[in-house]
């Protein structure tokens, strides 16, 4: 049994959200830089160069990459030999989010009641937690700050077996086509295939954080990723949606066993301000 005082959780969560808000991942930055070299549209190229400059300013001045610093989503794997002490674990996580957003000059974008009151909670809480109990005595965090320009363009479809590979690919490509300029392309697309309605969506969200340039280890899914990516980049949407060949940087797919009668597919769109960070205590 390993004891972890909950203030350490608060500290870690705060650190990870600040890192995510100011420092773009090396994978995303490298992909945008590479695209700026090859993008044939002059105005598209200038957009990509502005994004690279923006990443650098955010890093050097410790300011938010994008003003929409998102809704905080955390995937937390808790080792089963961990014992949290000194307070409520979930409250400690929320406190970490609160501190990051208030002390880090990040925008508070959360409203309490979604339909009627829509009153800002003032500290960007509550964050959304997805917990798993795993072997060991460590606590692993994957945090994402999800902007809503791209979240709003995401979709779930309850496909069936007969839709096949083509059906899945078409749904991914159609979702990107409909999104057009709204999610700030170039985008990163996370896809979950299988499971249930909510499981597919959870996988899709996790996949938005898989490194750009990585591939599904199953060659059939890896091919689907590559085909969907190529098809989206033929749509012509381009950087900022004003024309070009750089519309999507990555399509990251993962799957889960599903029911004999179904094949849920979730497509979660993330923008080039793909803010996530990982850490462990």
């Amino acid at each position: 049994m390993r004891e972890i005082p909950v203030p350490r959780v608060t500290e870690k969560v705060k650190e990870l959200f600040l890192t995510a808000a100011y420092y773009i991942g090396a994978d995303v930055e490298a992909a945008v830089k590479a695209a700026a070299e090859t993008e044939p549209s002059p105005i598209g190229k200038s957009v990509l160069c502005q994004l690279c400059e923006n990443y650098q300013i955010a890093r050097e001045e410790q300011v938010a990459i994008c003003q929409d610093t998102g809704m905080a989503v955390l995937f937390i794997d808790v080792g089963q030999d961990v014992h949290f002490t000194g307070g409520d674990f979930e409250q400690a996580v929320q406190e970490g989010v609160r501190q990051a957003y208030s002390e880090g000059y990040l925008r508070k974008s959360i409203v309490d009641d979604p339909l009627f009151d829509r009153k800002n909670t003032g500290d960007n809480t509550p964050a959304i937690l997805h917990l798993r109990i795993v072997p060991g005595d460590k606590v692993r965090f994957l945090v994402t700050a999800k902007g809503f320009g791209s979240e709003n363009m995401s979709a779930v479809k309850m496909c069936v077996a007969a839709d096949g590979e083509e059906g899945v690919r078409n749904f991914i490509v159609d979702t990107a086509r409909k999104a057009g300029p709204n999610p700030c392309p170039p985008m990163i697309i996370g896809v979950g295939v299988g499971g249930t309605f909510e499981q597919a969506a959870l996988i899709a969200k996790r996949m938005t954080a898989r490194p750009v340039g990585s591939h599904n280890p199953d060659p059939r899914y890896a091919k689907l990723e590559a085909d969907a990516l190529a098809a989206i980049n033929r749509l012509g949407i381009g950087p900022a949606g004003i024309g070009g060949r750089t519309t999507c940087l990555a399509v990251n797919i993962d799957f889960f066993p599903t029911h004999i009668a179904g094949m849920p597919v979730a497509v979660n769109i993330c923008c080039h301000a793909a803010r996530h960070a990982e850490g462990e205590i």
Binding site: P40, I43, Q67, Y105, R107, G149, P181, N182, C184, L235
Partner: protein, 184 residues
């Protein structure tokens, strides 16, 4: 594609000259507002009341800035997606608003109103928020301070970079731009 350095507020000659695809650098004052502020403005118009800010001949930037850290006039301040303002926009254009700055497509009703009342829709690069913030020299709250980041502000900008997305003549870069690169 032309490049213009323009003073805000824009004149009707400026608005008429701009074409989808032109690059502009703006200097001067602009209003800010998002859905929550638009909703209140339209409510006032519906009740026949006066608006707390004069929109005639003005530009509005759809933005909810991040808080400013020490040494900065404003926090990161890139555009938000404009379609959420579409339901309110035609009424503001009728009031004389002549320039909108945001990102993303607009409704047919907005595009028709832009032609009818002569207005342009400019795009700032979504997500280039720290870069854009450098061109914002000062900010003050003009109305609805209770809305926080969603309040109506006045930004004073210098060489604020933008692209003409939709012009007053029906030109639409979201159609003409991608059409050039589509390979379907």
């Amino acid at each position: 594609m032309q490049e213009y350095h323009l003073k805000l507020p824009l004149t009707q000659e400026d608005v008429q000259a701009l074409r989808a695809g032109d690059m502009v650098y703006l200097t001067g004052p602009m209003l800010t507002g998002r859905d929550a502020a638009h909703k209140r403005l339209i409510q006032l118009l519906d009740e026949g009341k006066e608006l707390p800010v004069d929109v005639r001949g003005q530009a509005i930037y759809y933005v909810g800035p991040a808080p400013a850290s020490p040494g900065h006039a404003v926090g990161s301040a890139g555009p938000t997606t404009s379609y959420r303002m579409d339901a309110y926009t035609p009424q503001l254009l009728k009031q004389g608003l002549n320039c909108m700055i945001g990102k993303g497509r607009r409704s047919d009703a907005v595009r028709a109103a832009m032609r009818e009342y002569s207005a342009v829709y400019l795009g700032a690069v979504g997500g280039a928020a720290a870069l854009i913030a450098r061109s914002i020299k000062s900010m003050e709250v003009l109305a609805y301070p209770d809305l926080g980041t969603e309040a109506i502000h006045r930004f004073t900008v210098e060489n604020f970079p933008a692209i003409v997305l939709m012009d007053a003549h029906g030109g639409n870069l979201y159609e003409s731009g991608p059409a050039q690169y589509r390979e379907e």
